[in-house]
Symmetry: C2
């Protein structure tokens, strides 16, 4: 493992973080996870930490708000990946400060793992939420920290098991609700695959100071295409209700957080098409399956087949 870069994950017990920690360890990188000491006794996070240890991950105690712990952790590694939650996006300035002070870090991946925030047509409260990610990008760039931004668009595990219907337990077999005209293309990637592409990208000189867009053609589907795919798989036709933008905006206004944020995200993705309504500029970034064609990723159809 001498030639493998050392990786620190901050936020490793989070939803996408745990996949990144696992993938990093399994691919032979000396892997460090910064976790709070209190997480060990938490019923949810404690089990994840045990699993990390069984994979050979070095657990470091500390957090985003303890500069010494952050600095010590950053000094041990070559690459820092942040997968902190949406509430901690601005507080990643503390990681930037530690990286600047340490001086040894070759690449920083801030917590992105969603839309490309520099390509947005959003309404509130999403505009403000994404403004925090945009501000962090500009800070990283101004500080001259080497970076890669991973834009994986939608998590498959979040949207596909319900065919993008909130709160149902399985893909619908009778009726389905479609936002707008159903033609805007959205992108769905399985969490394991996101981690695989992320770990591929971190050592790649091509992706230095670039955006990695995970946008596999087979996983780039409009809601209409997704519903047709599902209908073909189950051999049934669903009753479709189309929700106009005006109606969705009313729902956003009437919904408490965090549902208003989720609905505003769906507005950006399914009404405005923000996952795929722009061509990838090679000066800015690359599409992951194009630069890593050897990765065997799960397609949307394969994913949906699990629910037939």
């Amino acid at each position: 493992m001498a030639d493998k870069s050392k990786i620190l994950i901050i936020g490793g017990t989070g939803y996408i973080g745990k996949h990144v920690v696992e993938e990093s360890a399994k691919s032979g990188h000396p892997t460090f996870a910064l976790v709070r000491e209190s997480s060990v006794s938490d019923p949810v996070k404690g089990k994840l930490i045990e699993n990390f240890e069984s994979l050979g991950v070095t657990i470091l105690f500390g957090d985003l708000y303890n500069h010494d712990s952050l600095l010590d952790a950053v000094k041990k590694v070559d690459i820092v990946i942040s997968t902190v939650g949406h509430m901690q996006i601005p507080d990643q300035v503390n990681i930037i400060a530690a990286i600047k002070e340490a001086g040894n870090v070759q690449r920083f991946l801030p917590s992105e793992f969603g839309n490309d925030v520099d390509h947005l047509h959003s309404v509130e409260p999403l505009t403000s939420a994404f403004a925090r990610k945009i501000k962090l990008r500009r800070t990283i760039e101004a500080e001259g920290i080497p970076y890669t931004y991973v834009c994986c668009n939608y998590f498959a595990g979040f949207f596909l098991p319900t065919l993008c219907q909130f709160g149902v337990q399985a893909p619908p077999r009778d009726k389905v609700s479609i936002l707008g005209d159903g033609n805007a293309k959205a992108v769905f990637n399985e969490e394991n695959d996101i981690a695989t592409f992320t770990i591929k990208a971190i050592n790649d000189p091509e992706t230095l100071n670039k955006v990695v867009y995970i946008r596999p053609p087979l996983n780039t589907n409009s809601m209409n295409e997704l519903v047709t795919l599902w209908e073909n798989l189950i051999g049934q036709t669903l009753e479709k209700t189309y929700v106009p933008e005006e109606e969705l905006l009313k729902q956003i206004e009437a919904s408490p957080p965090p549902f208003n944020l989720l609905l505003a995200l769906n507005h950006s993705v399914f009404i405005k098409g923000d996952h795929a309504n722009f061509d990838i500029d090679p000066a800015v970034g690359f599409e992951a399956t194009e630069i890593y064609p050897d990765v065997k990723y799960t397609t949307v159809e394969e994913y949906l087949k699990r629910f037939v």
Copy 2:
């Protein structure tokens, strides 16, 4: 209106904030709302701002991150109510700084409007989220700023229309999922009523440096009681599935944000009973319907009747 205290609401275009702005204006208080200039052109927030203006609310442009705008706004009023969203909880230190500098504010209500965060039995990610509210409370107290904390527990509009089932569109008529043994008591209050009690509390010398718990006996129900109430209203019996704590913890671990946070909140409320598993200490606070018995609030039964 000369004898009515002047009220500033920060976060007034938010879910609970808009009710507080309306109630403040309707009850005759000179009312100011600090909003971002960009919100005027936002399809969702722009309409709310128009409505505020029609109620005679003075719109001030600015935000939490612009100290001058905050200071100017704070200087105009007697009472500051923050209803900012959960992502901005820590950034309320900026309001505290402005209040300290201005020196004229008689009472500050930080953005609470949920559980009493000093009475918690929570798992992650809720523990960390509520730690931010706890830290803010301690900062307010250490700075000697006069405060009132409003703990309204659950928003009725969030939970009752679905009988606490995520994602369904109406209260269930066939089957219902119940967390734990269904006996922990939760508290549900209609958003208008929360605003009414809040505006009542702000000028009350009794509630200075105290917690106002909105916990009306008729709105304090276990899931089992809630289901029985609903069954009686519709004259039907539902099929009940009980979800054990262990299963809920697994769901929390597997769910992406913000669903893991919502599930962890349900764990605190429906498994641990954190809304009502403690007696209100008169040295700490008061129950709202006891100190304001004249307020005609909506009961859970009245609320549910709307869906029969």
